[in-house]
């Protein structure tokens, strides 16, 4: 396999680290040396030629090739079996609806939240159980990190350069979760968003840090979900009034109460859509009275419609916890779901 990337020689593993750190090619953590063989193995696994164009970031006309994505995936610690998820996540991020340049250049400091669905989760050991959203397993850790390193190196999204974030959050190192499909009666997120049953899929969302909630004092779905909605209302007050994609992550303990009452993800989304909204006047309560003006009674929903809520089943088996994940900034960036290695709803060639 003919690779085009410039080759550097480093005397030992320590020299590799210094080479990459000193050139600004890392996230500050050590990297796996991207050797020719390791990169070629990723490309062979996905049957992609090195010069395959994953896509072009349209604002700065920056191409992303399979070879460069594989170099960064290896650096992040990916094995070849992880690479299809990385390819699909990057492809989804290059969808115009995602507004990748805005999301990665903004002072708003968001990260790319990645949700994996389908059989590939089990094949690569991606866990949606204990410590989900944290260091739950190798696969989600390295896949999320691969996306960050690719942004840094391929699209030059470096702090103070393209990345103008005032504050970042820990998800900018890695921000990936696998949905716990086996321990849930709900439709997987990807299916809710139109992917066929059994297809491995990736959903990407430009997202702020998770905000945890806790309510272990009820089994009533309305009361449980009211706590999630309240946290979303808090985000509307303290961060942004703009509606957009929100994700909520519901671990097993709370999930079982909601499922026992017969509630589907659609039922949850309908309830949250109705409850997660505030009048503009509430901004005066949190120091933002200057922009309430004459619109105090205008109601601002967190979700433009209920299908803008991404409900994810994940988390350890015990504990009345959950999380909401707010959008970067309203609907400017929209979540994108894409099947891995498959074309869903593709039209015939137009020429």
């Amino acid at each position: 396999m003919q690779l085009e990337s410039k080759i550097y020689e480093a005397a030992d593993i320590g020299a590799v680290q210094e080479l990459y750190h000193s050139n600004g090619w890392t996230d500050g953590l050590p990297v796996v040396p991207p050797t020719r063989d390791a990169v070629a193995a990723c490309l062979e696994w996905t049957m992609l030629p090195p010069d395959h164009l994953i896509g072009i970031e349209p604002v700065r006309a920056m191409p992303v090739t399979a070879e460069k994505l594989a170099v960064n995936a290896v650096m992040a610690g990916c094995l070849p079996m992880h690479f299809p998820v990385v390819v699909t996540a990057m492809t989804a991020m290059l969808d115009e609806k995602f507004l990748l340049h805005g999301a990665t250049a903004s002072t708003g400091g968001c990260a790319v939240f990645i949700v994996i669905n389908g059989p590939i989760r089990l094949e690569i050991g991606a866990s949606g159980g204990f410590n989900a959203l944290g260091n739950s397993d190798r696969a989600t850790a390295v896949i999320g990190r691969a996306i960050r390193l690719a942004l840094i190196n391929i699209l030059e999204v470096r702090p103070g350069g393209i990345d103008r974030s005032t504050l970042g959050h820990p998800g900018k190192f890695t921000y990936c979760v696998a949905e716990d499909e086996e321990d849930s009666t709900w439709l997987p997120l990807a299916q809710v968003r139109g992917m066929p049953p059994g297809a491995s899929s990736v959903t990407v969302m430009a997202a702020q840090a998770p905000r945890q909630i806790m309510n272990e004092w009820t089994t009533d779905p309305r009361e449980i979900l009211e706590t999630f909605a309240a946290e979303m209302r808090a985000n509307l007050r303290h961060y942004s009034l703009h509606a957009g994609n929100y994700a909520i992550v519901i671990p097993k303990q709370l999930r079982e109460h909601i499922q026992a009452a017969g509630w589907s993800k659609a039922d949850i989304a309908a309830f949250i859509h109705e409850r997660a909204r505030i009048p503009r006047r509430e901004w005066a309560d949190v120091g933002k009275g200057a922009v309430v003006r004459d619109r105090g009674d205008t109601i601002y929903p967190a979700l433009e419609s209920q299908d803008h809520l991404l409900v994810v089943a994940a988390g350890g088996p015990a504990g009345g916890f959950g999380a909401i994940i707010p959008p970067w900034l309203g609907h400017k960036s929209q979540a994108v779901t894409m099947a891995i290695g498959a074309c869903v709803d593709c039209g015939p060639p137009t020429e």
Partner: protein, 93 residues
């Protein structure tokens, strides 16, 4: 043990654009502003507008605001740029 490792950066990055020719003087020129619409841009462009008119004698200042401050300027705004002698745009927060 030595390693042969690969460059992770975008070696195919397109070249940066060329700077436009600098005007000799601002007197009698038309200056366009493309604002991202954020709060901090209002005072900045208002001050610059006054400065250009009163101290540099420009003929006109045309102010335009993007519909989405996180995305490139709208096509209709870009279409107007050809009518201006120079344009001021950039980050504002």
């Amino acid at each position: 043990m030595s390693f042969l490792v690969l460059d992770p950066t975008n070696e195919r990055a397109p070249p940066l654009g060329q700077l436009a020719k600098r005007p000799g003087s601002l007197r009698g020129k038309t200056v366009g502003f493309i604002s991202n619409g954020k709060e901090g841009t209002k005072g900045f462009f208002a001050h610059l507008d006054r400065l250009l008119r009163e101290e540099f004698c420009v003929a006109a200042v045309v102010s335009r605001t993007k519909s989405n401050y996180s995305a490139p300027a709208d096509g209709w705004i870009v279409g107007e740029v050809a009518n201006w002698d120079m344009v001021v745009t950039g980050i504002g927060d």
